[in-house]
Amino acid sequence: MTERPLTQNIRADGASTFLADYEANGGYSGLRKAVSSMTPESCLDEVKNSRLRGRGGAGFPTGMKWSFVPMGEKAGPGHKYLIANADEMEPGTFKDRLILEQDPHQLLEGMMLAAFTIQADIAYVFLRGEYVLAAERLMQAIAECYEAGYLGDNILGSGYSLHLHLHRSAGRYICGEETALINALEGKRANPRPKPPFPQVAGLWGRPSIVNNVETLCNITHIITHGADWFQTLGRGEDSGTKLFGASGNVKNPGVWELPMGTPVREILEDHAGGMRDGYQLRGFLPGGGSTDFLVEQHLDLAMDYDVIGKAGSRMGTGTMIVLDDRNCPLGMVRNLSRFFAHESCGFCTPCRDGIPWVVQLLDRFEQGQATEDDIALLEEKAAFIGGIGNTHCALAPGAMEPVNSALKYFREDFERHITAGGCTYNGAAGRH
């Protein structure tokens, strides 16, 4: 059994693993096992016992999430839905792309198993529009599955039926938020919905629905195939399984690697990413995408486990790190992120719609040398309010403020220097400032 299940079919040449190769490497044995010798209940138990946590950013336990789906008669008449969240628009996140382009069947098998567990009869891949190559390869893989009898009516003679469709998004970061995604699938503006009701009970078209991240669903394939006990042995620390970790920025060897959960940050940044590029020093890093708090050098020996990173004041997020170096301005980086969030706000609530552009304007003042001491306090106040849990309708705004708040904490002297020096003194990677 492999210790790197998620990437076992990833080839050096970047080509995709299609059905014949996927099956030759043990593919669809999990699906065969589930429909022939398991029940939805036993599948759910396996997923619960695996202690798998969602890889989409929030780290919610997958088995628990699924257990809220009404089963049998309780579900009432109509469809149930399983949706793969392949929106991947979190800045600095590039892990799902790898699987979508190079091993689409791994995702499809995971979706089939998840759908079987909650007894969904319709599944969607919600794919960001710019992933053109992934769309082509998914379409081919889906067609292969219908041909082979893995999708459609009466799958492998089991009596279970599942239809799977690809939806290509028209593009907005907020579509990745699961209730906004459901609105987008219904053809509407992608504003998040109030919760409750939770999608597990009333999601797409008002019916029970599960939305999971691509990587989460891929893990299901291996958990059902090899069992929860095996999955638990893969992690190095508290959490089970492996993770697609990544690093971008001015490191020598940016990339994405499948490593055990609990791998120390230092190992990822030094052994896999090769350390900093020559002439660059590490200032800090966002451990899991653009909406996580900065961590700094003192955190390098922390294990990449959900609770360990949480206790250090940040979040695992998507596990793809963005590394800040000493030649790029921390304020500039935060300003770039804040602009992104301001642009991508769905506009539904005022603190997010009006507040994030305000933060951008404040950061502009620092950049242009017009800021005073009072502006640091103002920025702190605004960021705390916009980021306050419960002050906005969804997690976009709190996420947007995580890099701002943590930059104020770790890079305070840079804010001060922008005031005393009358603007930005950095001469970025390519002379940006």
Partner: protein, 162 residues
């Protein structure tokens, strides 16, 4: 009424009807329908918008609210190819602002503009999910990685993408 719809081609209508057949409500196909028309015409004109709205049995105003919400639905004409230049954080750390400056200079256009010859429209795009190969952009359906402002040979001298 059917005159309005008839401004759509039979092919467009049949592709849209195919999407409608998969879901419980006609207006649920709004985004797919907009993308289908855009695939055929490059953008969504007011006339197309009204026709799609009729076909989906919804108001043109509501449909426009949906069309303008999404980054990849174009309500103005665009060039033969749309350049989507990533301006998010990992590309920023690797110098996307220099690439932008050089691209703009080379094409003679800023964000949201189309070259005089109608070849290219330049737009910023949120993180393209290729951060290990930053800076990156898409030219039409093609992803171009490791961009360097001193070498924009992906755009051939005549302006055509190679």
């Amino acid at each position: 009424m059917s005159d309005v719809i008839a401004t759509l081609s039979p092919e467009e209508i049949s592709e849209i009807e195919h999407e409608i057949a998969l879901i419980p409500r006609r207006d649920g196909a709004a985004i797919d329908a907009l993308l289908i028309v855009q695939k055929h015409r490059g953008w969504v004109s007011d006339e197309s918008l009204r026709a799609i709205a009729r076909l989906l049995e919804m108001s043109a105003e509501e449909l426009d609210g949906i069309a303008t919400f999404y980054n990849l639905i174009f309500r103005k004409p665009v060039g033969e190819q749309v350049i989507l230049l990533c301006d998010s954080v990992s590309c920023w750390l690797r110098g996307c602002e220099q690439v932008k400056a050089r691209l703009s200079e080379r094409l003679g256009i800023g964000y949201g503009e189309t070259t005089a010859d109608g070849r290219y429209t330049l737009l910023p795009v949120p993180c393209l999910g290729a951060c290990d190969r930053a800076p990156v952009m898409m030219v039409g359906d093609e992803l171009h990685t490791h961009l360097d402002e001193t070498d924009l040979s992906v755009l051939s001298p005549e302006g055509a993408a190679s």
